[in-house]
């Protein structure tokens, strides 16, 4: 789609979202939006590395988890202000992505999947085992909340948190769109679609992949920090398969390689799964439905989502 069309879509979307609190006063529904925005950041950033750059990164949620625990540990153990830890979470997540650079750059195909997954398990194990610092399996609670002066963000039915989450989503989306439209973004597409040609043009494949990974980690980490501060809880649940597959389904159903698709899908799926959680007997079944939806999207593939999926080039043999 043309750039202008994309901008119009985004402006429309964010204006609408900004106006939501005018109509919606329920603390619960605003909470749902906040969670939706958080997932939207996770999913759209995952789309950058997985969909746009074609990196088989299955450890994306690690960045989120690292962001969560950075904020938790920094505020609780080190007494850092929550306002500072949120950007700090982005930094630590980006560092983690850099550490994954060596394996991701050198490996191909299934091994990238396995090694990125292994990293996520490694971090999970570290979190579980170093329980003095991280609270282990029980996690950490009573993290400090956001406030400016006397204004606590939870006031007015979470109004402050709503706009904070929305602005983080907007910043993340702007960042991603700017990135993908830039020469760097174009080189990512080149690497994904035609590796040999890209190499012949002097583009370093491994460097682009690592950069894409690091870029995708920044806002994911930041939103992780926000998540921890907002819920005032950090738990190893963030590393679970359940969280990962929900985020992945948002990437797939929204449209791989589009950035904005996963944003919409995140909002839609968050509300859908929440609505389903209310129905008796659906607490587990809703995950099954999401998984089925994911399979359906992959199979029924015509144009739309999988038309984009077919542009995903597997790593060279």
């Amino acid at each position: 789609m043309t750039v202008q069309f994309l901008w119009i879509k985004l402006i429309l979307l964010f204006t609408l979202l900004a106006l939501v609190p005018l109509w919606v006063e329920s603390s619960y529904i605003r909470h749902l939006f906040i969670i939706a925005f958080i997932y939207a950041v996770i999913a759209s950033n995952w789309d950058l590395s997985l969909g746009y750059a074609g990196v088989f990164n299955f450890g994306h949620l690690t960045f989120f988890g690292i962001g969560v625990y950075t904020a938790a540990i920094a505020t609780k153990a080190l007494g850092v202000s929550p306002w500072l830890t949120i950007p700090l979470s982005g930094v630590t997540a980006a560092c983690a992505a850099l550490l994954m650079a060596a394996p991701v750059a050198r490996l191909k195909g299934i091994y990238v999947v396995l090694v990125t997954f292994a990293v996520s398990q490694l971090v999970l194990q570290l979190v579980l085992s170093q329980s003095q610092i991280t609270g282990g399996a029980e996690g950490m609670v009573r993290l400090p909340y956001l406030q400016i002066g006397d204004y606590k963000f939870i006031r007015d039915y979470k109004l402050g948190y709503y706009y904070m989450a929305l602005s983080l989503l907007m910043s993340s989306t702007l960042f991603l769109v700017w990135l993908t439209k830039s020469p760097f973004g174009k080189s990512l597409r080149a690497v994904r679609d035609n590796e040999d040609y890209a190499q012949a043009r002097g583009i370093s494949i491994s460097r682009q992949r690592v950069l894409a990974l690091v870029m995708s980690a920044i806002f994911t980490g930041i939103i992780g920090g926000f998540y921890a501060i907002y819920l005032r809880v950090a738990s190893p649940e963030v590393f679970s398969f359940g969280t990962m597959s929900l985020a992945l389904s948002m990437v797939l159903i929204g449209g791989v390689g589009t950035i904005w698709g996963p944003v919409i899908a995140a909002i839609a799926l968050t509300f859908a799964t929440e609505a389903m959680a209310g129905i008796r007997g659906m607490e587990e079944a809703r995950f099954i439905l999401v998984a089925i939806a994911m399979i359906a999207v992959l199979r029924l593939a015509p144009g739309g989502v999988a038309g984009l999926l077919s542009r995903l080039v597997p790593e060279k043999n």
Binding site: L122, E284, M294, L309
Partner: protein, 290 residues
């Protein structure tokens, strides 16, 4: 030799045997279809639950339970192949897509198990009660059985793929699909057979595990991850490499538990796995790269 070392040796053997069983199924599917089945751990869990249902809930005895666990899970494997893998043959993104569809299958099986059997812990009785002396230390008889069973099953698997026509056809399909079709091998049928065997092995392993671990819907995650470590170490190429790697990993884990303790062991195992991959992108013994 010191006591601690002997105990470590024994537990390394038990772990290695378990991991060999867990990883062999993954290896069969990988070498035949080029697909990494993320639902493999969930299938183990499913096998354990089926075994429990037949053995305990229906009271038909442990052996029937294990048999049922193996067969029913094998059938589920065929279903997975038909619904989640088959339509992506020839797709150039098949690897990535099937990673995602099998991940989805894992969620479905896990949440499904939770819905059907609930989250309360269950357990299967042991095949043999009592203890046995091994290398001068004592192991449970059931674990000793596993130590004996694993190589036997692996050998049977190896014999199947080397001697029988069907087994050879699986290897042929894994090496060259077109040539296999042109000598009269039904490639889709071979895929189904591979998945049936792989899933059956997973179910069997789960049923055996169900006596020494608690049966919960989430019990498949750890075996899946361990199986992953094994196939990474051994390279995904051959059954022999997988088996060898399994015992190496089992020993490594036992030694780590002895030296650095239970808390640090899992983290170190992953670290070692990542380092191995960086230094040897094809795995320790691996040759084939896809």
């Amino acid at each position: 030799m010191s006591d601690a070392l002997l105990t470590t040796l024994a537990s390394g053997l038990v772990l290695g045997s378990l991991y060999a069983l867990m990883a062999s199924g993954l290896s069969v599917v990988w070498t035949t279809l080029g697909v990494f089945n993320f639902a493999h751990g969930a299938l183990m869990m499913f096998g354990a639950y089926i075994a429990w249902t037949v053995s305990e809930a229906a009271g038909l005895g442990l052996l029937s339970g294990i048999l049922a666990g193996t067969i029913v899970t094998g059938l589920v494997g065929v279903i997975i192949e038909r619904l989640l893998i088959r339509s992506f043959y020839g797709n150039r993104n098949m690897l990535l897509i099937t990673v995602m569809t099998t991940l989805a299958a894992m969620i479905i099986i896990e949440k499904g198990a939770q819905m059907i059997w609930g989250a309360r812990l269950k357990q299967l009785p042991r095949l043999i009660e009592g203890e046995v002396s091994l290398f001068g230390t004592t192991v449970s008889a059931h674990e000793a059985l596993i130590i004996g069973l694993a190589p036997t099953i692996l050998l049977a698997l190896w014999a199947f793929t080397t001697i029988t026509s069907t087994g050879r056809s699986l290897r042929a399909v894994g090496q060259n699909q077109t040539s296999a079709a042109l000598i009269g091998i039904h490639v889709p049928r071979a895929f189904s057979i591979a998945f049936a065997i792989s899933a059956g092995l997973a179910g069997l392993t789960g049923a055996l595990l169900g006596s020494i671990r608690f049966i919960t819907p989430a019990m498949g995650s750890e075996p899946l991850v361990k199986a992953m470590i094994v196939v990474i170490f051994g390279g995904l190429g051959s059954l022999g490499a997988t088996a060898g790697a399994a015992y190496v990993i089992g020993m490594l884990e036992a030694i780590l538990i002895l030296t650095v303790g239970l808390y640090w062991t899992p983290s170190l195992m992953f670290l070692v796995m990542i380092i191995v991959l960086v230094l040897r992108p094809n795995g320790l013994f691996g040759r084939r790269l896809i």
